[in-house]
Amino acid sequence: MSRSLSARLGLMLMGLFALLAAVLVATSQQMFELQRLPHLAAELALGSIAFTLAAALLVFHFFTRRLRQLEQALDRFGVADLIAPVRLAWARPDGDEIDRLAFNFGALTLRIAEQLRMLERTDRERRELLANVSHDLRTPLASMQGYLEMLLLRHGSLPPEEERNYLEVAAKHTERLGRLVNELFELTKLEADRVELQKEVFPLAELAQDVAQKLKLRAHTRGVEIVTHFGAASPSVTADIGMVERVLENLIDNAVRHTPEGGKVSVDLAAVGERVEVCVADTGRGIAASDLPYVFDRYYRADRTEGEKATHAGLGLAITQRIVALHGGAIRVESRIGEGTRFIFDLPAAPRWPAAREAVSF
């Protein structure tokens, strides 16, 4: 099997010249008749011109046939909005140059079609996010506008306590709007990969303890207890300390908010091979199995139905997942209705001292 165009061309020309030689041998008896010599020379010259033309046409047709097919296929690809990739039966990676060219074109168009599909999906998701976000931005904005306009309209005629009441409502919605805008900004930045991780080696248990302590008061006022089980042997990780704090805070705060009075939120760590696993578990109301696959979606919110009472923007878990992914880890959720929910994520374990001293320079 010849694998290059020049080899094929050589073979074809050899065949044609062999044919020519056979014709010459067949006519060779007449060559020795002297009186016919000038006539023969003229015939030979004409014959070779005609032969060369015919041979060139044949060879040209043979080689351009596949190029024509390829060109037509690419035209069809363009007409079909770049979604149906080019597939030619003869295109293969082990053929001659034209076979390989067609094969590569096929692979290229397949990739273009796939990427286009992905872009369309991202675009659809973004539109949905925007629609959801503008709804949630508009709700507090409408309240703010309404109460402030009311204050301007009735200025001087409202009893002071009512005026204060209106102002408090407006201030509460301002705060909610601010939080949502901040989370949106954070998530957009994380998704655009514009974040550089400032990695350092640190004992994860210490950070978890500090975060738990920070949230203890808030948990206490809701009648929820935060329990941590750490000791001196707790593993260190190599990660961005500020971002890991954000993850722990999101998960613990989330757990506290979804746990009824008298409940418990526990935080545990375990070294698993080269990774350190963190588990934040609560004794809350749990998440329905049908909702579990969507908890990390950008706009999921378990308490969406609570309307005005649901003051959290719902981007926290999407942010959490993105941060864990940036650290090469994964986050998963397990839940049972009425029993509670567990979020488990992992981070890269730090090399043991003194290797850590070389791994991270301060």
């Binding site: 930045k189 941590t228 300390i241």
Partner: protein
């Protein structure tokens, strides 16, 4: 005596709001709405506090901060920023801003921060005169005046905040501090979203002064509570 405050902020509504609030704190407030005029203003006069926006027309906030810090005298700076990215925060603080607030901020928070800065500046003035005695704990010795640290006779290179944190720990051995306490005592402010800087500094300090940072001898963790400097206060001060 009234404090002199300069506000460099291009959003005039926000600038006026700050002026209204600070006037209640007995401050004379001057407003400047662009970076170029702001830079001229700080070159000409010394203020008790500079409130500085990061994004400014003309000379930008970071450049103004750099110029303020290049001056021989100390002018406290409170940065305002609409970008809440961690990098901006760290940059602002590492470059020597005294505190920062991200927009939108509450006016109550602004007043509390401004008061805290004034308190700290006053405290700094009185502390500088006293308490320059050498602190020795085990193999560790700290010279507050020259801001030098030695471990077993070997001198260790610390950043300004690392030194402050170590000195704070070493002056109260055996006492347990929570992370929030350390942030407000050593950094002088408490801000949700910046506490992890304490963890970072403790890590770096351990890496620099401990024999084995996994089993620290000096800065120890008290599980469930916070951090303490080893010992019971018996360390000798020379």
């Amino acid at each position: 005596m009234n404090k002199q405050v300069l506000v460099i902020e291009d959003n005039e509504d926000i600038a006026r709001l700050i002026k209204l609030q600070l006037s209640d704190l007995n401050c004379n407030v001057k407003l400047v709405f662009d970076g170029t005029r702001g830079a001229e203003e700080i070159a000409a006069k010394t203020y008790d506090l500079l409130i500085l926006d990061v994004m400014l027309p003309g000379v930008d906030g970071m450049e103004i901060l750099r110029r303020v810090r290049a001056r021989p005298d100390y002018m406290p700076v409170l940065m305002l920023t609409a970008k809440s990215s961690e990098l901006d925060r760290v940059l602002g603080l590492e470059m020597g801003a005294d505190d920062y607030l991200t927009k939108p901020f509450s006016v109550l928070e602004l007043c509390a921060r401004v008061k805290a800065i004034f308190r700290r500046v006053t405290a700094m003035g009185s502390a500088q005169a006293s308490d320059s005695a050498l602190v020795r704990r085990g193999e560790l010795s700290l010279d507050p005046e020259r801001r030098e640290v030695q471990v077993a006779g070997r001198s260790v290179d610390l950043t300004a905040k690392e030194f402050d944190l170590l000195l704070y720990f070493a002056r109260s051995p055996g006492r347990v501090h929570t992370r929030e306490q350390l942030l407000s005592q050593v950094w002088g402010y408490s801000h949700s979203g910046y506490e992890h800087t304490v963890n970072s500094h403790i890590n770096r300090l351990r890496a620099k002064i401990e024999r084995n940072p996994n089993e620290p001898e000096y800065i120890q963790t008290v599980w469930g509570v916070g951090y303490k400097f080893a010992g019971s206060g018996k360390g000798e001060a020379a």
